[in-house]
Amino acid sequence: MKTLLENARIIDPEGGTDRIGWLLIENGAIAGTGCEEAPQGADERINCAGKCLAPGIVDIGVKIGEPGERHKESFASAGRAAAAGGVTTMVTRPDTTPAIDTPEALEFVTRRATEDSPVRIAPMAALTKGRAGREMTEIGFLLDAGAVAFTDGDAVTTDAKVLSRAMTYARSLGALVMAHPQDPSLSKGAAVTSGKFASLRGLPAVSPMAERMAMDRDMALVEMTGVRYHADQITTARALPALERAKKNGLDVTAGVSIHHLTLNELDVGDYRTFFKVKPPLRSEDDRQALIQAVASGLIDVVCSMHTPQDEESKRLPFEEAASGAVGLETLLPAAMRLVHSGQIDLPTLWRALSLNPAKRLGLAGGRLTAGSPADLVLFDPDAPFVLDRFKLNSKSKNTPFDGARMQGKVLSTWVGGARVFGG
C-alpha cells in the first residue's frame, strides 16, 4: 500500500526546511519526500492543497486518568483528543492513583493504551515508589517493560541523598530522569507567582526564585551522578542561565516548557479564573518573552501541553482551593501557532521542539520525516481561524484556559503509522 501526499507545504524539523513538495507513505513508514516531480505508482494520491505537513507531535507529560480517575480522562478520550490535535505520541505521566511505579502497573498502561488509543503511547514510570521520594522504583524492570523516562511528576524529592542514589542507579542503565524544578518549601501552598498582581489579589504566591534554586540543585546532582536529565518545565527567565551553563559544561541535560507558559501570563488569571491555575503558576510577561526566545534559540528543547485533565468540581472552587492544571492535547498546535503568527519563531524550529527533540530525547523513532521513520504525520492549515469552544473538545475534562479564545491553526488530518486517525 502506497499513499502519496502531494502539493504539501512540508515542514521538516531535521533539515530545518519549509517548502512545497510530496511525501510517500509505504507500509506505514515514510518512503521518501521531495520537492521535484512526485513519483508514480501510488495506490492513493492525496492533494494537500498547499497546507502544512509535519511530523506528528510527541507530547511529553500527558496525564491520563487511568488508573484512578477515569472520569477525568480515559485512554480512549485522550487518544481522540490527541488525534484531533495532531499529537501522534502521548508520553504519559505516572502520577496516577496509584502511581505507575511497578512493571505490573506499567503493563496495565501499555495494555489499555493498545486497546483504546488511536495514537501511540510511550509511558513514563515513577522514579520513587509511590512518588514519595524515599525508595527508588525497579528502574531496570520498568525499562524492560517499556518505560521511556522516570519521573515523580510535581512531587519533588527533597532528600538529596535519595535523589542522588536514584540518579546514579538510573545512569548505570542509561535511563532518562525527568524532574520538576521547583523548591517545594518555597512553593508550598502557592497559587500564583509573587508580584504586584498576586499582592493585589491577595493570593498565596511563590517567588520565581524557587525554580532557579531547584534547577541549581538538580544541575549539581546531575554533575555528581552523570544522569541523563530532562526538566519538565522551565518557566522563568531566572532559571535559564543554570540550564545554559549545564549544557555548556557538557551535562546531558534538556528542558521543556508548557505551551501555557509560552502563550499566557500571570495577569490572565484576572478575576480568579481557575482554568488559568497551572503548576508552576503562570509567570510575568518578561518571563514569557524570555521563554519564547529560549525555544527559538534551542536552549529550551521541548514544547509540551502538560495535559492535565480536571473535572468541573475540582475547578469550581475558590482559587486557592481549586485544582491545578489545564488540558492541552487539542489546543497545543493552534496555541503554538500564535508564536509563529507573531513572528517570533518559524515552523521548522517550532517543530523541532514539538516532535523531533522529544522523540530523540526519549529514543523514539517518530518525530521526523526521514525515510524509514514511521508515518506519524499531521496535516494542518496554519491560518484557519476559529473560536475555541471548550465543550467541543474530545477530552472528558474541559478545563482549557483557551475557552472562547480566537485561535489560528486547524488540524486537517493525522496519521499514525500510515493509518489516518483523524480527518478525512
Binding site: 499582592s199 491577595g202 493570593l203 504566591a205 480568579y272 472552587l317 475558590p318 482559587f319 482551593e321
Partner: protein
Amino acid sequence: MTFRQKHLLGIEPLHPEEIRTVLDLADQYVDFNRGSSKHADTLAGLTQINMFFENSTRTQASFELAGKRLGADVMNMAMQASSIKKGETLIDTALTLNAMHPDLLVVRHPHSGAVDLLAQKVNCAVLNAGDGRHEHPTQALLDALTIRRAKGQLHRLNIAICGDIAHSRVARSNILLLGKMENRIRLVGPPTLMPARIDEFGVEVYDDMREGLRDVDVVMMLRLQRERMDGGFIPSEREYYHRFGLDADKLSVAKPDAIVMHPGPMNRGVEIDGEIADDITRSVIQEQVEMGVAVRMAAMDLLARNLRAKLDEGRYA
C-alpha cells in the same frame, strides 16, 4: 448621586464619585442612628442573608443591625457548622441559597476571590464582608468616613498604615480607597509582613515606625494575628511591640492632632498601647464601630435601589 454597582465586592471597581456617594449617605445614617427612633422601611420586604464562613462577631453584628434598622428580614447562617463541613462546594451552597430568593447576601470567606466566585452564581446583590487577604470594602469605607468626619476632608492627608500588611484585606482595601481619594499613603511594618512588590501600589514603605509616622495626619494600626506572632514572621511578641507597637513615644512624631485608628479587635500591648487606644483625644476606635453600622446601611440601601430599579425594568420591559 452616582452608584452603579450591582455588588460591593471590593474597592477596586469603585469610582471616587461612588465612594463619595456612599459616604454622603452614610453621614445621614449616622444622624439617624443617633436619633430616638432607629427604624426605617427602606429595605422592607427584602431578605438579607449573612453568610460567614469565618468567625466574626463585630462585622456580622454590624451588618445584622444595619439590615434590621432599615427594615430588612435578616437571617444569619453560621457556615462553619453547616453543609460545607459535609463537603458541599461553595457554588452548590450559593445555588441552594439563590433558590430561596434572597436580595442581599453578605459573605465572609477565608479564601481570596471566593466572594467574587459566589457573586457570579447568584441573582441578588452580594456584599463582601472580607475574603481572604483580598478585600474588605465596608471596613475601608467606614475608615474613610471616620477620617472625613475627624479631619473634615478625605484628600491630601498623610496616612500611615502599620503592621501586618501582607495578610490584611483591610490594608488592601484601604490602600485602594485612600489612593483613589488622592492621599499620601505610607506602609509601616517589618519586611516579612509586607506583600511582594507593594512599592508598585503608589505607596511609601517604611520599616521604622518613627520615620514612618513623622508628620502623619492618620495612624491606622492593623491587628497582628496570633498565629503569626511566634518565630515565623516576627521573632517575638515583645520585640514586635518594641519596634512596631504604637505607644506615646512613637506617636509623638506624628502631627499633634493625628488620629489613631484600629479595625479591631485589638491586641493591647502587642500592636497598640492600651492608654493610646483609650485616649479619647487621639483614638477614634469607637467612632469606627459607629461608622461601621452607618456605612453598611448606606451600602445596602444603594445596592437595594439598583436591585429594585433592575427588577422594575424587568417588569415593564
